[in-house]
């Protein structure tokens, strides 16, 4: 049954009227128009739908919208601040870390999550963390490069 719920997405509050079981991904895309998070598999296997939920990277196709109530959600649309790209976004551009770019939002959100918990990851750490994100075009080496570049930029900025 559709139920009134309140979501906090990218710092804004949204009242929504949805079946609580509906995956968060579909509410973000169809109700809030935040289509940067992608559907790729619907079983949490490809990572295209990754968002930050309470600061943690999560597969939004596997999260019932009711489970997102009371936790801030950050989507790819929420990373850019005052016209400035997040260092991970900038690093993906600088490393040319995409081809068709359909996986890019999910890759960036997962990488942001990784760098929060591990600011200076090794290539093996990155591969391990992004193991659940699929890129079919085969851009993996450049994505690993981009995460290294972003880590460096974020550390320099923090200094």
């Amino acid at each position: 049954m559709p139920t009134p719920l309140e979501l906090e997405v990218n710092g804004k509050r949204y009242p929504v009227h949805y079946n609580p079981e509906t995956p968060l991904l579909f509410v973000l895309r169809d109700e809030l128009g935040l289509t940067g998070s992608k559907y790729g598999c619907g079983e949490g296997q490809c990572g295209s739908c990754t968002v930050l939920l309470g600061g943690q990277p999560r597969r939004s196709c596997q999260i019932p919208v009711s489970a997102a109530v009371g936790k801030p959600v950050t989507t790819i649309e929420g990373l850019e601040k005052d016209g400035h790209l997040h260092p991970v976004q900038q690093a993906f551009i600088d490393a040319g870390a995409f081809q068709c770019a359909y996986c890019t939002s999910g890759m960036i959100m997962s990488s942001v999550g990784l760098l929060q918990s591990n600011p200076n990851p090794t290539s093996a750490d990155i591969a391990q963390f992004l193991q659940g994100n699929i890129c079919r075009c085969g851009t993996h080496p450049r994505i690993v490069d981009a995460v290294h570049q972003a880590a460096k930029a974020m550390q320099e900025r923090a200094r």
Binding site: F92, Y102, T104, I134
Partner: protein, 726 residues
């Protein structure tokens, strides 16, 4: 066998046959074009326009329709055009589509280079049947060899036109003027005029002169450079809208009721409960049943409320026995087009010093593009607009017109830059489904296939059986080569090696699963068999595999890639415990590839890890080295999946592994160190690069596994369950 597919196959030889295994082509579209010259300027504003005419046969076959233009306005065989606006903005139009191969960038580079304008001032309009010239489709690695030269000639003619306008203005000879940096300059007087000022107030149009010299690769300034992907910022911010992201006002979500198995027919049907649901539209048309509703969830609920009983007609084979099935069901007489013979193969085989025969198999695999098939359809009266991720916008327009029984002139197909395809998006299935629902609903409808639908109802790279008989002389020279491909296709079937007695034949087998194009097509299968077999022959002759290939190769370009890969890899490598090294090469669609692979074996678990790949690639003059490197490395990684573990499993007419949790694709921890060695041949016109670099990956890895273990693997995928499972 399914009836529709059999009809398709029978009709096939009557079509312009670009690739014999393009099974998914079902009809020749009737090509209309309704953008007349007057409307062209109305749309784009005043300025200068040049239209390219495709005259040479290959380009004409691919990019020019045979009829349907307004001959009084435009010539009948236009393939590309370009417009320079009063503000100096350059817009180039072509019917190709961007699916991740980066041609939106490389084509704009080409235009900027030839027109002598900054890269940033060029915008490409692509894949829109109302705005761009007819194009057969974006496949076969044809964009760079056919579209690049046409756009270059258009840009060159536009530059000449601008010089002529300036020459008239100054009353000097055009030959004395120079065009550079978006300006025409008169070196004698130092005067100059920008392209923008030259285009101001004009509606000048010109058809491309028959021959116009273009800038040779050695003089390129914008082309040949590693320019980053255009619109990159839109992709990293989530702003780019792929087809599934479109949401026109009033749009409904559509869902299709899929049969339980291939070929099932609807025998009992009751949709009264579904129809009573609020806001739901149901369409039933033969076996096609679909629902549209305000949300995807409501559409699914409506489908679940339909009572449908299907009569199943299970396939006679499954993924367990498909190879013997294919062999037993091959048509006795194959098409001559796919047969090639030289010398006397039987005699040479019988009398040879060393004889080696083997059978190779290749499983069905799926493209699994991350953006599933999707379409948004919107009707306005009798006019239909469809946005869809497709490699053939004009082909999809034809499919829509045929299926919906409306004239093609009422259909517009627009392809937003798409979340990849790999040969998998040639058909208009989702477009037809969305359009059919939208017509009934009188509202826009979006259909996005689920991953399971994508794995089941799209088409596959066909399975195949390849039989090879061969013989070598005592000195290691090939003397006989007898090569038969059953079902998977004929591209890349001809051996590049020098052999006096050769027979190659493609044996047609009626379709089992719906099959079609895939990156590299059958060339991957044929190269796997040939290059694995060459390795086995080298071993039999006790000659190093690289040396054995070079001994039998005359083609200098093939030798060059082999030597480049070997040099960068450090071939030959000293024998090492639980390590293996393999090499393979090939050529297809005008480009050459060689791959060296290093693998590591875990003796206890039988796990095989690919440690390193070095792929040398040569496709003539390089247009964008950065984009090319991305394509070559991407093809190597995609090739890992088909080489090691990807296989579609099916039984009783059902795909039994239609999910990423059941169908393994390459992931980060599977990725070896990969080096792409790009050979830039400025003396050779650019060829396409999307497909060929995938071809040598599987045999190089298989040969490395043999090198480590002595075990010769002859089936793709090589190790779906590790070495112990083989």
């Amino acid at each position: 066998m399914n009836k529709t597919t059999s009809e398709t196959m029978i009709k096939q030889p009557q079509k312009p046959l670009l690739e014999p295994e393009r099974y998914e082509f079902t009809s020749i579209p009737l090509h209309h074009f309704d953008l007349a010259r007057r409307e062209f300027f109305k749309l784009l504003g005043a300025g200068i326009a040049v239209f390219a005419i495709a005259k040479n046969s290959q380009a004409a076959q691919e990019t020019a329709p045979s009829h349907g233009f307004h001959p009084q306005d435009l010539p009948s065989d236009i393939s590309a055009w370009l417009h320079i606006g009063e503000d100096g903005a350059v817009t180039a139009f072509c019917g190709k589509v961007e699916i991740g191969q980066n041609i939106r960038t490389s084509l704009a580079q080409t235009v900027a280079d030839e027109l002598r304008v900054p890269f940033e001032s060029v915008r490409m309009v692509m894949g829109d049947t109302a705005l761009t010239p007819f194009d057969a489709g974006t496949f076969g690695s044809r964009t760079t060899p056919t579209m690049t030269p046409q756009l270059r000639r258009v840009a060159s003619a536009a530059r000449d036109l601008l010089v002529e306008v300036a020459a008239k203005e100054w009353n000097v000879a055009p030959e004395s003027l120079k065009a550079a940096n978006a300006k025409v300059t008169d070196p004698a007087s130092g005067r100059s005029l920008t392209y923008a000022s030259l285009a101001r107030g004009k509606t000048l149009a010109q058809n491309l002169p028959a021959e116009d010299p273009v800038t040779p690769p050695s003089d390129w300034t914008v082309a040949g450079k590693p320019i980053p992907k255009v619109d990159a910022r839109d992709f990293v911010t989530g702003r780019h809208q792929y087809t599934p992201d479109l949401r026109p006002a009033g749009m409904l979500h559509g869902k299709v009721l899929r049969p339980p198995s291939f070929g099932a027919a609807l025998v009992v049907y009751d949709d009264s409960a579904a129809k009573s649901l609020n806001g739901v539209v149901i369409v039933r048309d033969g076996n096609f049943v679909a629902a549209a509703a305000p949300t995807e969830h409501e559409a699914s609920t409506a489908l679940a409320a339909i009572r449908a009983t299907w009569k199943e007609d299970p396939l006679k084979t499954s993924s367990r026995d498909i190879f013997s099935y294919l062999k037993n069901n091959a048509e006795a007489k194959s098409n001559d087009r796919h047969r090639n013979q030289k010398g006397f193969v039987e005699g040479a085989l019988a009398g040879a010093a060393h004889r080696l025969d083997a059978v190779y198999t290749v499983a069905y695999i799926a493209h699994a593009p991350l953006e599933p098939r999707a379409a948004v359809a919107e009707w306005s009266g009798e006019k239909l607009t469809v946005w869809t991720g497709s490699q053939r916008p004009f082909g999809v327009r034809g499919e829509l017109a045929d299926t919906l029984r409306i004239p093609e002139s009422n259909v517009r197909v627009i392809v937003p830059d798409t979340g990849s395809a790999y040969g998998g998006k040639h058909t208009g299935d989702a477009a037809i489904e969305a359009a059919r629902l939208a017509r009934a609903a009188h509202r826009p409808v979006k259909v996005v296939w689920t991953r399971e639908e994508e794995f089941t109802w799209a088409y596959f790279r066909p399975a195949g059986v390849i039989e090879v008989k061969s013989a070598i002389a005592p000195d290691g020279k090939l003397v006989a080569w007898d090569f038969h491909n059953y079902h998977s296709g004929s591209s890349g079937i001809e051996t590049p090696y020098a052999v006096p007695n050769v027979r190659t034949e493609f044996h047609f087998v009626p379709l089992v699963l719906r099959s079609g194009s895939y990156r590299g097509l059958a060339a991957t299968a044929n190269h796997f068999a040939r290059e694995t077999h060459m390795d086995a022959l080298a071993h039999a002759a006790q000659i190093d595999p690289l040396e054995f290939r070079l001994k039998n190769l005359e083609d200098a370009r093939m030798r060059a890639v082999l030597e480049a890969a070997a040099k960068n890899f450090g071939w030959p490598r000293a024998k090492a415990q639980n390590r293996g090294f393999g090499i393979a090469c090939g050529n297809e669609k005008g480009s050459y590839v060689a791959t060296c692979a290093e693998i590591a074996i875990d003796k206890d678990s039988g796990a095989v890890r690919v440690v390193r790949l070095v792929t040398a690639f040569e496709c003539g003059a390089i247009v964008n080295p950065d984009g090319l490197r991305n394509q070559v490395i991407g093809a190597n990684i995609q090739g890992l999946g088909g080489a090691l573990f990807e296989a579609i499993e099916f039984e009783n007419g059902r795909i039994t592994n239609p999910r990423f949790s059941r169908y393994r694709v390459p992931r980060f921890r599977d990725i070896p160190e990969i080096e792409a060695v790009l050979l830039d041949r400025k003396d050779i016109a650019p060829a396409g690069a999307g497909e060929t670099p995938i071809m040598a990956v599987a045999p190089a890895i298989g040969n490395a596994i043999f090198n480590a273990t002595g075990q010769r693997l002859t089936n793709l995928p090589l190790i779906p369950n590790g070495l112990k499972g083989t």
